[in-house]
């Protein structure tokens, strides 16, 4: 699954640590999501999108083979 978390963080001027605190996870989790090593749960995806004030499909999208 692709995501635009890194881009959105830059737009909102947030570090991984700050975003992690806002959605109550560890920085490693945000890093793993950005590196596509971990697919977040629906709840976490919704929390991240709420921080960026975007809908889920604006931040997350399926890869062509999914």
């Amino acid at each position: 699954m692709n995501n635009k978390i890194k881009v959105e963080r830059a737009i909102h001027n947030l570090t991984q640590e700050q975003l992690a605190d806002l959605v109550s996870v560890t920085r490693q989790t945000i890093n793993a999501i950005e590196l596509k090593k971990f697919v977040p749960s629906t709840v976490l995806a919704l929390k991240i999108c709420r921080v960026f004030n975007k809908s889920v499909d604006e931040v997350f999208s399926l890869e062509s083979n999914e």
Binding site: Q16, V25, N31, E34, F38
Partner: protein, 159 residues
């Protein structure tokens, strides 16, 4: 579904129990160390030496057991359980995924090793395999989880 986990403060207690008993266990089993004195303790047990006997009086009775090896085994298991099942300082779904991965690894490697030993170790020597096998799941789980956890902790500061 919330995972079944113990409070984080129990993790350090787990390490304090696990590490010395792991070293002591290695010394006892691998190097076959014999204590100068062999303290015994009387404890209640479901089965004594006569496990294959059908006589009732030899079950559910107080029997004399070696104190030190049993103490080491108990400390190792309690310590191992506390380390395995205590929360990290900050617990989240990613850590939970690392736990699942470590558990899959430990079960897979444990039973692969056991299968290997089934094929190649025969007779009374298999008793040794069973002794090691009591602890391999805990050891492999902890090694794998710690590796994954610290591997993901040392991430580049991509901010």
């Amino acid at each position: 579904m919330k995972p079944l986990l113990l409070p984080n403060r129990l993790k350090n207690i787990g390490w304090i129990l696990l590490l010395p008993s792991f070293v002591a266990g290695l010394i006892f089993i691998v190097f076959e160390y014999k204590l100068p004195m062999d303290p015994k303790i009387n404890v209640f047990g479901f089965f004594g030496d006569a496990i294959l006997s059908s006589k009732l009086e030899q079950q559910f009775r107080v029997s004399s057991v070696d104190l030190i090896p049993n103490l080491i085994g108990i400390c190792f298991l309690v310590g191992g359980i506390l380390v395995m099942f205590s929360k990290e300082k900050k617990e989240d779904e990613f850590i939970n995924q690392l736990r699942l991965n470590a558990l899959q690894w430990s079960i897979f490697i444990n039973y692969s090793l056991l299968l290997f030993c089934f094929l190649l170790v025969h007779g009374l020597a298999f008793l040794n395999v069973m002794v090691y096998n009591m602890f391999t799941i805990i050891v492999i789980y902890i090694l794998r989880f710690q590796y994954l956890f610290y591997n993901h902790s040392i991430v580049k500061n991509e901010q």
